[in-house]
Symmetry: C2
Subunit: 149 residues, 2 copies
DNA sequence: TATTGTTATACTCTATAACTATA
DNA sequence: TATAGTTATAGAGTATAACAATA
């Protein structure tokens, strides 16, 4: 057990980066394929998942990790597909709030249900592994987002 | 402890999907930002990481999760930047092998070193957590890629 | 003045379909 | 005939810079 711990501490950050990169890449490839089967691009699908709660355009850009100017076009397309709506905020009329439509929520759920590889992968985890994964993600996420802690 | 295990088993696949999606998204946003600081797009950076070993165009498309026709342009740009080379395979002259250049390897390393958020996140893990994360990724990756097991 | 969202621009990424060279 | 890579095309994503409306 002491030997195992010693060995574990030899795992470098570079190795972890590669492992996380592999999983992250495969996850998004699965997501993009599922979105495509439902007629959406990966970005459109990701945007849909980011507006389950109403969100200002600016905040949506932040969530997507892109410039605010892109969001105009992305939301234009979602709106023309009837998957999201956009309306001025009452408090500050410069701000526009994006909201998912019932149809949009259905499509998003269908995409998520259609991620067969991700489902197979995650359903292979037992209860302890699930708890460990969730705790790991909760620890990493704020740091990956650059939040204080 | 029995209570903890019971609680852990209540974690749904949907919750895990959201957690993994969040971490994956934040990881790639950090990667894209680091690549941009070195003058590359996210796709170019990802492609560079996929040709550390010489790889045929077709296999590169597979790794990037995109159509083979895209790879022509992606490698064109890497080649014009002096970061990768492309040459016909001796065994089958239809096949073209993409290889990273020494400069390309340097740029890739610089990008990885520049992922400050990912580094902070992963360096927050102790030895046991590192081993757990690596094992988790090793279990998930083949399933996410759709490999038999 | 500062901020939100939009537009204009140029470039990259993307899939589809048709093409070539090789097998 | 089948496969690897390319080209042509059209649409979508991307950052930059300049702009209008609102604060």
């Amino acid at each position: 057990m002491a030997a195992m711990t010693t060995a574990a501490q030899r795992i470098t950050t570079a190795e972890l980066m590669e492992a996380v990169a592999g999983v992250s890449s495969a996850f998004w490839i699965d997501f993009a394929a599922a979105a495509a089967r439902h007629g959406l691009s990966a970005t459109q699908g990701k945007a849909l998942g980011a507006v389950l709660e109403p969100v200002p355009m600016r905040a949506l850009a932040e969530r997507l990790g892109c410039d605010a100017s892109n969001v105009t076009g992305i939301v234009d397309r979602l709106e023309s597909l009837g998957l999201a709506t956009r309306e001025a905020a009452a408090a500050d009329r410069r701000v526009k709030i994006v909201t998912i439509t019932p149809t949009g929520a259905e499509v998003l759920q269908a995409i998520r249900d259609d991620m067969s590889r991700a489902h197979r992968a995650l359903e292979s985890l037992d209860g302890e592994q699930r708890a460990a994964l969730l705790a790991m993600c909760a620890q990493l996420l704020p740091l990956l987002k650059g939040e204080p802690a």
